[in-house]
């Protein structure tokens, strides 16, 4: 079996050829430090960084002065939440987020308890959607930050970001959204959607690992997470990962071309996979919202079987997938996201996420459906749960 089908694009993506090509010359030709603008090598690097900044900013309808590079989505999430909390603690100590955020948000909020901050974790419905009324009623005079993810990494559910932005704005509360999974999959407009802070990560859309971005609306009060040199207009210290920034810029540039076409093709392929599984395998539960979901995300729970064993059998057939988020595999707890949607533990344990890319073919889809059918049959045959039902 030499076929390889990579369907874990929410964990990370292959770096695109054009991106690699673009990055190449920033290793040993234009290797200057962007802070060394006094000489040519330095200026070239600076220029490259600023070009990438403009590309990324344009893509989300931000001003390039509002766009900062970080080491990835986790750093951005930490920066947004700690930075706003510490800078605004004279105003209040209350944060609102959801039960289905990435750990980079959840664990940061937990950490802030030690500094006297309190967090309200909003519920989600069976589709992973928050309730705007609950959001409104959770707002207190001490609320300084609302952090709600754009699209969920496990189940793909897309939140009503613009409405959340409006509510935050009405109440004069800073609104952060983790758009790590949304960037390049959904049309984002930080102005229209009233987003104040937004986390991004390059490796989720064909860029390199270890580089990310943060949108910070002009005027937002936020402390630095990484203090030091004057890089990123004094807001994020550290010699810029120029080659990675260039790669991030290129990945965004590629994503912005034929964006609508790309999304609709992806959606079509995704639907084929979704339908195929639903129609060929009994006793499955779709996780996430049926329509308000990422165009690349397919997540089902397969009753009476456990996820890891499915993944292992998939791997033997050359298919890479994930059970919940990449971060939680290896852990024994079922995904907090699935539990938040009301799934019981047993069912949650049997969930598999396929996240496709534009390289995914119909042939791949058919092979995956067929393979899954066999795997689930095989595992159910040895499961003591099936019979009890």
């Amino acid at each position: 079996m030499n076929r390889k089908i990579y369907l874990d694009n929410a964990a990370t993506t292959k770096v695109k050829k054009e991106v690699i090509e673009e990055m190449k010359s920033y290793f040993d030709e234009m290797y200057g430090n962007p802070s060394s603008g006094i000489y040519e090598l330095g200026r070239r690097s600076k220029e490259a960084v600023e070009n990438a900044r403009k590309t990324v900013a344009d893509f989300i309808n931000a001003d390039e002065k509002e766009l900062y590079f970080t080491a990835g989505g986790s750093e951005s999430d930490n920066w947004a939440i700690k930075g706003v909390a510490f800078a605004n603690k004279d105003k209040g100590n209350h944060i609102i987020t959801t039960k289905i955020e990435h750990h980079a948000v959840l664990h940061t909020c937990e950490y802030l308890e030690k500094f006297g901050f309190e967090t309200t974790y909003l519920d989600v419905d069976e589709y992973g959607m928050i309730d705007l009324e609950q959001l409104k009623s959770s707002i207190k005079p001490e609320t300084i930050l609302i952090s709600i993810m754009y699209a969920n990494n496990e189940i793909g559910t897309i939140q009503p970001i613009e409405k959340i932005g409006e509510i935050a704005k009405e109440h004069n509360i800073i609104f952060h959204t983790d758009a790590v999974q949304a960037l390049g999959a959904v049309r984002i407009d930080v102005k229209k959607q009233h987003i104040d802070l937004m986390s991004m990560s390059a490796h989720k859309l064909g860029g390199p690992k270890g580089i990310g971005g943060m949108y910070i609306r002009k005027g937002i009060k936020i402390d630095n997470l990484i203090h030091g040199g004057g890089q990123e207009r004094g807001k994020r210290a550290g010699t810029e990962g120029v080659q990675n920034i260039v790669g991030f810029g290129k990945a965004v540039e590629l994503a912005s071309k034929n964006f609508e076409q790309y999304v609709s093709k992806l959606t079509e392929t995704r639907n084929k996979l979704m339908e195929g599984i639903k129609n060929n395998i009994p006793d499955v539960v779709l996780n996430g919202h049926p329509t308000m979901r990422l165009p690349n995300n397919v997540n089902f729970s397969y009753q009476y079987v456990e996820g890891e064993s499915i993944l292992l059998l998939l791997d033997m057939d050359g298919i890479a997938a994930s059970s919940g988020s990449a971060c939680t595999s290896g852990s024994l707890d079922p995904s907090h996201v699935l539990l938040a949607t009301g799934l019981d533990h047993g069912t949650a344990h049997g969930s598999i996420r396929f996240t496709i890319s534009e390289e995914t073919t119909d042939e791949d889809i058919n092979f995956v459906i067929e393979t899954m059918k066999n795997i689930i049959e095989k595992l159910r045959a040895i499961s003591p749960l099936k019979k009890n039902m």
């Binding site: 064993s309 079922p334 040895i382 749960l385």
Partner: protein
């Protein structure tokens, strides 16, 4: 991540299934923790003549069940009571630290099946005097 032996027992698990009118049946684990193991024993003259299993769980849980049944078939009850998860781990060529609990589960499933046998036959099995099957309260490992 897993040794070749683990992968072999996972891919081709031995002794899958159930035994009708088994002399002892034990089920441990629960869906909350992500693994359930059910072991069936056929016992004759204090010798475990056959063992079968059904498992809901990760790769190492399935492999552990498979290996455990392999190891106890042919053993005497006294030997089986002494059976420890270490034997499973060893026979599998090792398990990742986070997965060692699967082998513990196998040990418990066997004990539980022996206990069931003892209950049914009104026998006292040496080493199982103080054994009581896992209560329903859940402690995931």
């Amino acid at each position: 991540m897993y040794t070749e032996i683990v992968m072999d027992h996972f891919k081709n698990p031995r002794n899958v299934g159930s035994i009708e009118n088994a002399d002892g049946v034990g089920q441990v684990g629960n869906a909350k923790c992500g693994d359930i193991m059910k072991i069936y024993l056929k016992i004759n003259d204090d010798i475990i003549e056959d063992a079968k299993f059904e498992t809901f769980g990760c790769g190492s849980a399935i492999a552990s069940s498979s290996m455990a049944t392999e190891l106890i078939i042919g053993k005497s009850i006294n030997e089986a009571v002494e059976f420890s998860n270490k034997a499973v781990v060893e026979a599998l060529g090792g398990l990742p630290p986070v997965k060692v609990h699967c082998s513990v589960l196998a040990e418990q499933a066997i004990k539980s099946a022996l206990y069931d046998y003892a209950q049914k036959t009104n026998k006292v099995i040496k080493g199982l005097e103080n054994y009581t099957p896992e209560d329903e309260e859940v402690h995931c490992h």
